[in-house]
């Protein structure tokens, strides 16, 4: 399996091209290809997780730092797996609800989106990261406006403009870093930046880079684009976007461990700023969640809040805290995606997500139970993985009492917000006398949501061995010397 690191990028690209060129009008074949592609990606991610050593792949066999290198370490493998599982659930849901009928190119766009995501997780070259971000974003522009409609396209324009401005800042940052260090290979940047004495330019470049990643991750105050976008995106697309904020978190973690590690002055300064930003994000998001009048808004704020929590854990520069953060990252992505899918199920049965007394829902009992499970997980209550994740993060923050109480206090706001939303949507509807409007059962869509919840149950049950594995991964991240040696040799 010498070519394993490049396959998660090549496979979706080929699948998407085949779908566009060879089966332009056959939805059934496209569905089969799309599901098969996602299953194959999951298999590849599984193979990547089994690797004992980080695998490096030099594109065109050019030596680093001149060529582009793909580095498949444990963190990359974990993110590949997360993206593949999410992609599979989203495709199944879109097929089950017929969302993929509403536009021509849903499945090819999904495949291109997976290609961009996987490439961003794998690449070890900063400019190549920009290119894969663009691949991911171009596909997401199409997915965001899938199905059309005035409000959605308007929100889409705003989403595109914000991200284009972000891309411009990304290029400015890369140019500055290249001018200062003379390299774009991440491992090489780490070596060169640490060797520069008066590193004003590096610091400016690194700061701008963090601004870009903060836009993607939706950290306060750069989160403003997210609520409107996620609320108006099609349900399955919003669920897939749950991993897009985490791409920003991943890029921040990669930068703070490989390019600007905790020991350097630049890295320390960035980590401190990001920790404060994470705290502010957590407060704003949870207050927003508590005050939201719409279930879609509740979920978007909870996703932003999870990014804030992650920033608190991942900026400590300690393996234990980073491992806890990684555990919470996987959990919060799965929980957020499940909630977005459930919101879409509720929207099609209720007509609106506004939190006011409404009619009964068809299949209301099942939806209520699944929403309960997903909300319990997202808010961080026992017994699901959100509780364990927050527990691990609290353990890592032991001694930082301000942050400690911040995490606990905001969790209470989240619990109250979700409880109010659930009781309005499901209990108050029970008081209505009118029977629920009939709606097809959509078993495939429900199994996609149930699959996401089941993945969280698995994540909870396997928490012990998983945490040990994550601690090894985090230790490797915080001691990048072996990886840098391997890349530059």
């Amino acid at each position: 399996m010498m070519h394993l690191p490049v396959l998660p990028v090549v496979l979706p690209a080929v699948v998407a091209a085949v779908m566009v060129l060879a089966v332009p009008h056959d939805l059934i074949t496209r569905r089969v290809l799309s599901v098969a592609g996602m299953v194959a990606l999951t298999g590849l991610a599984l193979a990547a997780l089994m690797l004992p050593e980080p695998a490096l792949y030099r594109l065109g066999d050019w030596p680093a730092p001149f060529g582009i290198i793909l580095q498949l370490d444990r963190l990359a493998a974990l993110m590949l797996m997360l993206a593949a599982v999410l992609g599979l659930a989203v495709v199944l849901y879109a097929i089950g609800t017929g969302w993929d009928r509403l536009g021509v190119h849903f499945h090819p766009l999904m495949a291109f989106q997976m290609m961009g995501l996987n490439g961003a997780f794998l690449t070890g070259d900063a400019f190549n990261l920009f290119v894969f971000f663009e691949v991911m974003l171009i596909a997401s522009y199409g997915l965001m406006t899938h199905g059309g409609g005035g409000p959605r396209i308007k929100a889409g324009v705003q989403y595109v403009v914000v991200n284009l401005a972000g891309s411009a800042v990304f290029l400015f940052a890369l140019g500055t870093i290249y001018a200062a260090t003379g390299t774009l290979n991440m491992a090489d940047i780490g070596v060169k930046a640490a060797a520069i004495e008066h590193d004003g330019l590096v610091r400016i470049g690194a700061g701008m880079l963090m601004v870009v990643f903060a836009i993607k991750a939706a950290l306060v105050p750069l989160h403003i684009w997210l609520p409107a976008t996620y609320e108006r995106a099609p349900g399955p697309v919003a669920a897939l976007f749950a991993v897009m904020t985490k791409v920003g978190v991943y890029a921040i973690l990669r930068s703070l461990t490989l390019m600007f590690p905790a020991g350097t002055e630049t890295g320390t300064a960035l980590a401190e700023i990001l920790r404060v930003t994470g705290g502010a994000t957590l407060i704003v998001a949870m207050v927003g969640l508590y005050g939201a009048r719409d279930f879609g808004r509740v979920i978007t704020w909870s996703v932003i809040g999870s990014v804030g929590t992650l920033m608190l854990a991942m900026t400590f520069g300690q393996a234990g805290a980073t491992a806890a953060g990684l555990y919470y990252l996987v959990h919060s992505t799965l929980a957020g995606a499940a909630l977005f899918l459930l919101a879409d199920l509720i929207l099609t049965r209720r007509g609106t997500l506004t939190l006011a007394r409404g009619p009964r829902l068809a299949q209301g009992g099942l939806i209520a139970a699944l929403t309960m499970a997903a909300a319990v997980a997202m808010a961080g209550m026992p017994p699901l993985s959100g509780f364990l994740g927050k527990l691990m993060i609290l353990e890592a923050l032991w001694g930082q009492w301000g942050l400690w109480w911040l995490v606990i206090g905001t969790a209470i706001l989240a619990i109250m917000g979700f409880a109010r939303a659930g009781s309005t949507l499901f209990w108050q509807a029970e008081e209505s006398d009118a029977p629920a409007l009939p709606h097809p059962a959509q078993p495939l869509a429900f199994s996609a949501v149930a699959g996401l919840i089941a993945a969280q149950v698995l994540w909870t049950l396997a928490a012990g061995p998983v945490l040990g594995w994550l601690e090894d991964a985090a230790a490797a991240l915080h001691d990048p010397a072996p990886l840098i040696r391997a890349v530059l040799s």
């Binding site: 663009e134 522009y141 889409g156 290029l171 890369l174 140019g175 290249y178 001018a179």
Partner: protein, 133 residues
Amino acid sequence: MELLVAACVGMTTMAAVYLILQRRSFPVIVGMSLLSYSVNVFLFATGGLAIDAPPLLTGPVPDAPMTDPLPQALVLTAIVISFGMTAVVVVMSLGAFFQSRSDRIDLDPNAGPDSAPATGAAIGIDPAERGGT
């Protein structure tokens, strides 16, 4: 020359930021294009400014003047991407305009009806005419 290039990048970026912060989609699109120009010039300059020097040396000329070829490759990539992106924004803003009859870029739900609604005539296209005749 450094001063000239730096001033050029700075002024273009300034104008671009001003335009992007406008409410209507046309200035925003022009601002995005300006921003991509300034980024490209900036990237060009990151390898150091050299005039009349080749990016690739062939043969045994170790001391010949040369310019850094990598920023040129980066600029090429950035130009292609920003060109495609500008097309995407134009198409999406047109779609938004035809569907909602307003080219405001903000999404404030509390804002009342557009104080000065953008008519098709204002930007040279009338959607009603386009669909009706």
